[in-house]
Symmetry: C2
DNA sequence: GTCTATACCCTGATAGAC
DNA sequence: GTCTATCAGGGTATAGAC
Protein backbone atom coordinates (compact mmCIF):
# COMPACT_ATOMS: atom_id res chain seq x y z
CA UNK A 1 0.00 0.00 0.00
CA UNK A 2 2.07 2.88 -1.25
CA UNK A 3 -0.72 5.40 -0.62
CA UNK A 4 -0.97 4.48 3.01
CA UNK A 5 2.76 4.69 3.49
CA UNK A 6 3.03 8.06 1.81
CA UNK A 7 0.07 9.30 3.78
CA UNK A 8 1.71 8.27 7.01
CA UNK A 9 4.94 10.00 6.12
CA UNK A 10 3.09 13.14 5.12
CA UNK A 11 1.34 13.16 8.48
CA UNK A 12 4.58 12.76 10.35
CA UNK A 13 6.18 15.51 8.33
CA UNK A 14 3.27 17.80 9.05
CA UNK A 15 3.62 17.10 12.72
CA UNK A 16 7.30 17.91 12.61
CA UNK A 17 6.64 21.09 10.65
CA UNK A 18 3.99 22.20 13.14
CA UNK A 19 6.23 21.50 16.11
CA UNK A 20 9.00 23.45 14.42
CA UNK A 21 6.77 26.47 13.83
CA UNK A 22 5.51 26.31 17.41
CA UNK A 23 9.04 26.18 18.79
CA UNK A 24 10.06 29.17 16.69
CA UNK A 25 7.06 31.17 17.86
CA UNK A 26 7.63 30.13 21.46
CA UNK A 27 11.26 31.24 21.28
CA UNK A 28 10.10 34.63 20.11
CA UNK A 29 7.61 35.18 22.92
CA UNK A 30 9.57 33.53 25.73
CA UNK A 31 12.48 35.74 24.68
CA UNK A 32 10.35 38.88 24.71
CA UNK A 33 8.37 38.32 27.87
CA UNK A 34 9.93 35.45 29.73
CA UNK A 35 8.10 32.27 30.62
CA UNK A 36 5.53 33.83 32.89
CA UNK A 37 4.86 36.81 30.64
CA UNK A 38 4.41 34.88 27.41
CA UNK A 39 0.87 33.94 26.43
CA UNK A 40 -0.07 30.64 24.83
CA UNK A 41 -2.60 32.42 22.61
CA UNK A 42 0.09 34.66 21.11
CA UNK A 43 2.39 31.74 20.49
CA UNK A 44 -0.38 29.73 18.88
CA UNK A 45 -1.38 32.61 16.61
CA UNK A 46 2.23 33.25 15.56
CA UNK A 47 2.58 29.56 14.76
CA UNK A 48 -0.54 29.73 12.60
CA UNK A 49 -2.91 27.63 14.67
CA UNK A 50 -5.36 27.83 17.50
CA UNK A 51 -4.58 27.39 21.16
CA UNK A 52 -5.98 23.86 21.39
CA UNK A 53 -4.07 23.12 18.21
CA UNK A 54 -0.88 24.08 19.99
CA UNK A 55 -1.81 22.08 23.06
CA UNK A 56 -2.16 19.01 20.91
CA UNK A 57 1.62 19.10 20.37
CA UNK A 58 2.64 20.35 23.83
CA UNK A 59 0.07 19.42 26.45
CA UNK A 60 0.94 22.34 28.76
CA UNK A 61 2.88 25.58 28.84
CA UNK A 62 5.59 23.93 30.91
CA UNK A 63 5.91 21.14 28.36
CA UNK A 64 6.33 23.78 25.68
CA UNK A 65 9.05 25.53 27.68
CA UNK A 66 10.94 22.31 28.15
CA UNK A 67 10.52 21.54 24.47
CA UNK A 68 12.05 24.87 23.55
CA UNK A 69 14.91 24.52 26.01
CA UNK A 70 15.79 20.97 25.02
CA UNK A 71 15.67 21.81 21.33
CA UNK A 72 17.78 24.96 21.58
CA UNK A 73 20.10 23.52 24.19
CA UNK A 74 20.85 20.58 21.94
CA UNK A 75 21.87 22.89 19.09
CA UNK A 76 23.75 25.39 21.23
CA UNK A 77 25.57 22.78 23.28
CA UNK A 78 26.73 21.18 20.09
CA UNK A 79 28.07 24.51 18.87
CA UNK A 80 29.82 25.15 22.18
CA UNK A 81 31.27 21.64 22.17
CA UNK A 82 32.57 22.11 18.63
CA UNK A 83 34.05 25.44 19.69
CA UNK A 84 35.77 23.98 22.72
CA UNK A 85 37.28 21.11 20.78
CA UNK A 86 38.37 23.17 17.81
CA UNK A 87 41.86 22.10 16.76
CA UNK A 88 44.56 24.36 15.45
CA UNK A 89 43.36 27.68 16.80
CA UNK A 90 43.74 29.19 20.21
CA UNK A 91 41.02 28.07 22.58
CA UNK A 92 40.20 31.59 23.72
CA UNK A 93 39.99 32.82 20.14
CA UNK A 94 37.47 30.13 19.34
CA UNK A 95 35.43 31.18 22.37
CA UNK A 96 35.57 34.79 21.23
CA UNK A 97 34.27 33.68 17.84
CA UNK A 98 31.31 32.10 19.62
CA UNK A 99 30.54 35.43 21.29
CA UNK A 100 30.79 37.11 17.89
CA UNK A 101 28.30 34.61 16.55
CA UNK A 102 25.97 35.36 19.45
CA UNK A 103 25.88 39.00 18.39
CA UNK A 104 24.11 37.84 15.23
CA UNK A 105 21.28 36.06 17.10
CA UNK A 106 20.00 38.53 19.71
CA UNK A 107 16.68 36.71 20.04
CA UNK A 108 18.31 33.50 21.19
CA UNK A 109 20.66 35.36 23.51
CA UNK A 110 17.71 37.15 25.06
CA UNK A 111 15.83 33.86 25.42
CA UNK A 112 18.57 32.32 27.53
CA UNK A 113 19.39 35.50 29.44
CA UNK A 114 15.82 35.96 30.60
CA UNK A 115 15.04 32.30 31.23
CA UNK A 116 18.30 31.65 33.10
CA UNK A 117 17.64 34.61 35.40
CA UNK A 118 14.00 33.63 35.97
CA UNK A 119 15.11 30.10 36.71
CA UNK A 120 17.25 30.99 39.73
CA UNK A 121 13.99 30.87 41.65
CA UNK A 122 13.49 27.36 43.01
CA UNK A 123 9.84 27.33 41.97
CA UNK A 124 10.55 28.09 38.29
CA UNK A 125 9.85 25.14 35.98
CA UNK A 126 13.30 25.42 34.39
CA UNK A 127 15.20 25.63 37.69
CA UNK A 128 16.61 22.12 37.58
CA UNK A 129 17.23 22.38 33.86
CA UNK A 130 19.54 25.38 34.23
CA UNK A 131 21.39 23.91 37.19
CA UNK A 132 22.10 20.82 35.12
CA UNK A 133 23.00 22.88 32.07
CA UNK A 134 25.61 24.95 33.93
CA UNK A 135 27.07 21.86 35.57
CA UNK A 136 27.37 20.07 32.26
CA UNK A 137 28.83 22.98 30.31
CA UNK A 138 31.25 23.90 33.08
CA UNK A 139 32.52 20.33 33.14
CA UNK A 140 33.21 20.33 29.43
CA UNK A 141 34.87 23.70 29.42
CA UNK A 142 37.02 22.85 32.40
CA UNK A 143 38.47 19.92 30.46
CA UNK A 144 39.25 22.10 27.47
CA UNK A 145 40.81 24.78 29.63
CA UNK A 146 43.01 22.30 31.48
CA UNK A 147 44.29 21.08 28.12
CA UNK A 148 44.92 24.63 26.92
CA UNK A 149 46.79 25.34 30.14
CA UNK A 150 49.02 22.30 29.60
CA UNK A 151 49.59 23.44 26.03
CA UNK A 152 50.74 26.78 27.39
CA UNK A 153 47.95 28.73 25.76
CA UNK A 154 46.24 29.91 28.92
CA UNK A 155 47.81 31.21 32.11
CA UNK A 156 48.17 28.38 34.59
CA UNK A 157 48.23 30.35 37.84
CA UNK A 158 44.49 29.80 38.30
CA UNK A 159 42.61 26.49 38.51
CA UNK A 160 40.74 25.50 35.35
CA UNK A 161 37.50 25.37 37.35
CA UNK A 162 37.93 28.98 38.38
CA UNK A 163 38.63 30.15 34.85
CA UNK A 164 35.57 28.27 33.62
CA UNK A 165 33.23 29.95 36.07
CA UNK A 166 34.75 33.34 35.25
CA UNK A 167 34.35 32.87 31.51
CA UNK A 168 30.72 31.80 31.75
CA UNK A 169 29.99 34.65 34.13
CA UNK A 170 31.62 37.11 31.75
CA UNK A 171 29.59 35.85 28.80
CA UNK A 172 26.33 35.99 30.77
CA UNK A 173 27.01 39.39 32.28
CA UNK A 174 28.05 41.01 29.02
CA UNK A 175 24.85 39.76 27.44
CA UNK A 176 22.72 41.79 29.84
CA UNK A 177 24.55 45.05 29.14
CA UNK A 178 24.62 44.31 25.40
CA UNK A 179 20.91 43.49 25.20
CA UNK A 180 20.07 46.73 27.01
CA UNK A 181 22.30 48.86 24.77
CA UNK A 182 23.42 46.94 21.68
CA UNK A 183 24.71 50.11 19.99
CA UNK A 184 26.84 51.07 22.94
CA UNK A 185 28.21 47.78 24.20
CA UNK A 186 30.29 45.58 21.95
CA UNK A 187 29.99 42.19 23.54
CA UNK A 188 32.65 40.59 21.37
CA UNK A 189 35.37 43.19 21.82
CA UNK A 190 34.80 43.31 25.56
CA UNK A 191 35.00 39.56 25.73
CA UNK A 192 38.18 39.67 23.69
CA UNK A 193 39.69 41.98 26.30
CA UNK A 194 38.86 39.40 28.95
CA UNK A 195 40.30 36.61 26.82
CA UNK A 196 43.54 38.51 26.40
CA UNK A 197 43.83 38.80 30.16
CA UNK A 198 43.79 35.03 30.38
CA UNK A 199 46.30 34.22 27.69
CA UNK A 200 49.62 32.95 28.92
CA UNK A 201 52.59 35.27 28.79
CA UNK A 202 50.68 38.54 28.69
CA UNK A 203 52.50 41.47 30.27
CA UNK A 204 51.18 44.94 30.87
CA UNK B 1 -3.70 72.36 68.79
CA UNK B 2 -1.21 69.82 70.05
CA UNK B 3 -3.66 66.95 69.58
CA UNK B 4 -4.21 67.74 65.96
CA UNK B 5 -0.52 68.05 65.33
CA UNK B 6 0.29 64.78 67.05
CA UNK B 7 -2.55 63.07 65.23
CA UNK B 8 -1.20 64.26 61.90
CA UNK B 9 2.26 63.00 62.70
CA UNK B 10 0.90 59.66 63.73
CA UNK B 11 -0.94 59.37 60.43
CA UNK B 12 2.18 60.20 58.48
CA UNK B 13 4.20 57.69 60.44
CA UNK B 14 1.61 55.05 59.79
CA UNK B 15 1.76 55.78 56.09
CA UNK B 16 5.53 55.47 56.11
CA UNK B 17 5.33 52.24 58.08
CA UNK B 18 2.79 50.79 55.66
CA UNK B 19 4.81 51.77 52.62
CA UNK B 20 7.88 50.22 54.21
CA UNK B 21 6.08 46.93 54.87
CA UNK B 22 4.70 46.90 51.32
CA UNK B 23 8.15 47.52 49.83
CA UNK B 24 9.61 44.70 51.90
CA UNK B 25 6.89 42.30 50.82
CA UNK B 26 7.18 43.40 47.19
CA UNK B 27 10.94 42.79 47.24
CA UNK B 28 10.27 39.28 48.46
CA UNK B 29 7.79 38.40 45.73
CA UNK B 30 9.41 40.29 42.86
CA UNK B 31 12.63 38.49 43.79
CA UNK B 32 10.92 35.11 43.85
CA UNK B 33 8.78 35.40 40.75
CA UNK B 34 9.91 38.44 38.84
CA UNK B 35 7.64 41.36 38.02
CA UNK B 36 5.24 39.46 35.80
CA UNK B 37 5.02 36.42 38.06
CA UNK B 38 4.43 38.26 41.33
CA UNK B 39 0.81 38.71 42.44
CA UNK B 40 -0.50 41.85 44.08
CA UNK B 41 -2.70 39.73 46.36
CA UNK B 42 0.34 37.89 47.76
CA UNK B 43 2.24 41.11 48.33
CA UNK B 44 -0.74 42.70 50.04
CA UNK B 45 -1.26 39.72 52.34
CA UNK B 46 2.44 39.60 53.25
CA UNK B 47 2.31 43.31 54.06
CA UNK B 48 -0.66 42.72 56.33
CA UNK B 49 -3.37 44.48 54.35
CA UNK B 50 -5.89 43.94 51.61
CA UNK B 51 -5.31 44.49 47.94
CA UNK B 52 -7.13 47.81 47.76
CA UNK B 53 -5.21 48.80 50.89
CA UNK B 54 -1.99 48.26 48.97
CA UNK B 55 -3.30 50.11 45.93
CA UNK B 56 -3.99 53.11 48.10
CA UNK B 57 -0.22 53.53 48.51
CA UNK B 58 0.85 52.41 45.03
CA UNK B 59 -1.90 52.98 42.48
CA UNK B 60 -0.73 50.20 40.15
CA UNK B 61 1.63 47.26 40.01
CA UNK B 62 4.03 49.26 37.85
CA UNK B 63 4.05 52.08 40.39
CA UNK B 64 4.92 49.52 43.04
CA UNK B 65 7.76 48.14 40.95
CA UNK B 66 9.20 51.59 40.41
CA UNK B 67 8.79 52.32 44.11
CA UNK B 68 10.79 49.22 44.99
CA UNK B 69 13.50 49.95 42.43
CA UNK B 70 13.91 53.59 43.39
CA UNK B 71 14.04 52.74 47.07
CA UNK B 72 16.54 49.90 46.73
CA UNK B 73 18.55 51.64 44.06
CA UNK B 74 18.98 54.66 46.32
CA UNK B 75 20.40 52.49 49.10
CA UNK B 76 22.52 50.26 46.87
CA UNK B 77 23.91 53.10 44.78
CA UNK B 78 24.97 54.83 47.97
CA UNK B 79 26.77 51.70 49.10
CA UNK B 80 28.48 51.32 45.73
CA UNK B 81 29.45 54.98 45.73
CA UNK B 82 30.93 54.68 49.21
CA UNK B 83 32.80 51.58 48.10
CA UNK B 84 34.20 53.25 45.00
CA UNK B 85 35.39 56.28 46.91
CA UNK B 86 36.83 54.39 49.84
CA UNK B 87 40.17 55.89 50.81
CA UNK B 88 43.18 54.04 52.04
CA UNK B 89 42.40 50.60 50.71
CA UNK B 90 42.87 49.13 47.27
CA UNK B 91 39.94 49.88 44.98
CA UNK B 92 39.55 46.29 43.86
CA UNK B 93 39.63 45.05 47.44
CA UNK B 94 36.81 47.39 48.32
CA UNK B 95 34.82 46.08 45.36
CA UNK B 96 35.48 42.51 46.48
CA UNK B 97 34.14 43.45 49.91
CA UNK B 98 30.95 44.61 48.22
CA UNK B 99 30.57 41.22 46.58
CA UNK B 100 31.16 39.59 49.96
CA UNK B 101 28.40 41.72 51.39
CA UNK B 102 26.09 40.69 48.56
CA UNK B 103 26.53 37.08 49.62
CA UNK B 104 24.73 37.99 52.84
CA UNK B 105 21.64 39.37 51.07
CA UNK B 106 20.60 36.75 48.52
CA UNK B 107 17.06 38.10 48.29
CA UNK B 108 18.20 41.49 47.08
CA UNK B 109 20.70 39.97 44.68
CA UNK B 110 17.97 37.80 43.23
CA UNK B 111 15.66 40.80 42.92
CA UNK B 112 18.10 42.70 40.76
CA UNK B 113 19.28 39.66 38.80
CA UNK B 114 15.76 38.72 37.75
CA UNK B 115 14.49 42.24 37.16
CA UNK B 116 17.57 43.32 35.20
CA UNK B 117 17.23 40.31 32.90
CA UNK B 118 13.47 40.79 32.46
CA UNK B 119 14.08 44.45 31.69
CA UNK B 120 16.22 43.85 28.59
CA UNK B 121 12.91 43.51 26.79
CA UNK B 122 11.90 46.93 25.45
CA UNK B 123 8.32 46.49 26.62
CA UNK B 124 9.25 45.83 30.27
CA UNK B 125 8.23 48.67 32.60
CA UNK B 126 11.74 48.85 34.09
CA UNK B 127 13.53 48.87 30.72
CA UNK B 128 14.49 52.56 30.80
CA UNK B 129 15.26 52.37 34.48
CA UNK B 130 17.93 49.70 34.04
CA UNK B 131 19.46 51.39 31.01
CA UNK B 132 19.84 54.55 33.07
CA UNK B 133 21.10 52.64 36.07
CA UNK B 134 23.90 50.92 34.15
CA UNK B 135 24.89 54.18 32.44
CA UNK B 136 25.05 55.99 35.78
CA UNK B 137 26.95 53.31 37.64
CA UNK B 138 29.40 52.70 34.83
CA UNK B 139 30.16 56.42 34.74
CA UNK B 140 30.98 56.51 38.42
CA UNK B 141 33.05 53.37 38.36
CA UNK B 142 34.98 54.50 35.32
CA UNK B 143 36.09 57.60 37.21
CA UNK B 144 37.26 55.57 40.18
CA UNK B 145 39.08 53.10 37.96
CA UNK B 146 40.87 55.84 36.05
CA UNK B 147 42.09 57.22 39.36
CA UNK B 148 43.21 53.81 40.53
CA UNK B 149 45.06 53.33 37.26
CA UNK B 150 46.88 56.63 37.72
CA UNK B 151 47.72 55.60 41.26
CA UNK B 152 49.26 52.44 39.86
CA UNK B 153 46.81 50.12 41.59
CA UNK B 154 45.16 48.73 38.45
CA UNK B 155 46.78 47.66 35.19
CA UNK B 156 46.69 50.51 32.73
CA UNK B 157 46.89 48.56 29.48
CA UNK B 158 43.10 48.60 29.15
CA UNK B 159 40.79 51.62 29.03
CA UNK B 160 38.92 52.36 32.24
CA UNK B 161 35.60 52.07 30.35
CA UNK B 162 36.48 48.54 29.30
CA UNK B 163 37.45 47.49 32.79
CA UNK B 164 34.22 48.94 34.14
CA UNK B 165 32.03 46.97 31.74
CA UNK B 166 34.01 43.81 32.50
CA UNK B 167 33.68 44.23 36.25
CA UNK B 168 29.94 44.83 36.14
CA UNK B 169 29.50 41.90 33.77
CA UNK B 170 31.52 39.67 36.08
CA UNK B 171 29.45 40.65 39.11
CA UNK B 172 26.17 40.08 37.25
CA UNK B 173 27.23 36.80 35.70
CA UNK B 174 28.58 35.34 38.92
CA UNK B 175 25.30 36.15 40.61
CA UNK B 176 23.38 33.84 38.28
CA UNK B 177 25.64 30.88 38.92
CA UNK B 178 25.74 31.62 42.64
CA UNK B 179 21.95 31.95 42.96
CA UNK B 180 21.49 28.62 41.18
CA UNK B 181 24.04 26.81 43.35
CA UNK B 182 25.00 28.87 46.39
CA UNK B 183 26.76 25.93 48.04
CA UNK B 184 28.92 25.22 45.04
CA UNK B 185 29.79 28.67 43.72
CA UNK B 186 31.65 31.13 45.92
CA UNK B 187 30.84 34.43 44.33
CA UNK B 188 33.34 36.39 46.43
CA UNK B 189 36.36 34.18 45.88
CA UNK B 190 35.68 33.95 42.15
CA UNK B 191 35.39 37.71 41.99
CA UNK B 192 38.62 38.02 43.93
CA UNK B 193 40.34 35.92 41.28
CA UNK B 194 39.08 38.37 38.65
CA UNK B 195 40.21 41.33 40.75
CA UNK B 196 43.70 39.86 41.06
CA UNK B 197 43.90 39.62 37.28
CA UNK B 198 43.35 43.34 37.07
CA UNK B 199 45.84 44.46 39.70
CA UNK B 200 48.91 46.15 38.36
CA UNK B 201 52.15 44.22 38.35
CA UNK B 202 50.67 40.74 38.50
CA UNK B 203 52.80 38.09 36.87
CA UNK B 204 51.92 34.48 36.30
C1' DG C 1 -6.10 54.66 55.27
C1' DT C 2 -8.22 50.56 55.08
C1' DC C 3 -11.96 47.62 54.25
C1' DT C 4 -15.83 44.58 51.47
C1' DA C 5 -17.67 43.73 47.29
C1' DT C 6 -17.22 43.36 42.72
C1' DA C 7 -16.29 44.45 37.74
C1' DC C 8 -13.99 42.76 34.15
C1' DC C 9 -10.39 40.88 31.47
C1' DC C 10 -7.12 37.41 30.67
C1' DT C 11 -5.23 32.75 30.77
C1' DG C 12 -4.28 28.00 30.58
C1' DA C 13 -6.65 24.09 29.76
C1' DT C 14 -10.71 20.75 28.42
C1' DA C 15 -14.73 18.67 25.66
C1' DG C 16 -16.12 17.14 21.70
C1' DA C 17 -16.99 17.76 16.60
C1' DC C 18 -14.78 17.30 12.09
C1' DG D 1 -4.31 17.18 13.79
C1' DT D 2 -6.96 20.98 14.08
C1' DC D 3 -11.02 23.40 15.03
C1' DT D 4 -15.18 25.96 17.89
C1' DA D 5 -17.02 26.52 22.16
C1' DT D 6 -16.41 26.89 26.78
C1' DC D 7 -14.84 26.51 31.66
C1' DA D 8 -12.74 27.52 36.04
C1' DG D 9 -9.61 30.31 38.12
C1' DG D 10 -6.74 34.01 38.68
C1' DG D 11 -5.35 38.91 37.77
C1' DT D 12 -5.46 44.04 38.25
C1' DA D 13 -8.10 47.63 39.37
C1' DT D 14 -12.43 50.38 40.91
C1' DA D 15 -16.68 51.83 43.77
C1' DG D 16 -18.12 53.09 47.78
C1' DA D 17 -18.65 52.37 52.93
C1' DC D 18 -16.36 53.08 57.36
Amino acid sequence: MPELKRSRRTQAERTRASREKIIQAAIEFFARQGFRGAKMADIARAAGLSEPGLLHHFPSKTHLLMGVLEERDRIDSERLRATLQQEGSHFLDALTKLVEHNETVPGLVQLFTILAAESVSAEHPAHEFFIGRYQREREHMTESIAQAQQAGEIRADLPAETLTALLFAMMDGLQVQWLLEPEKISMASLFRAMADLLKAGIRE
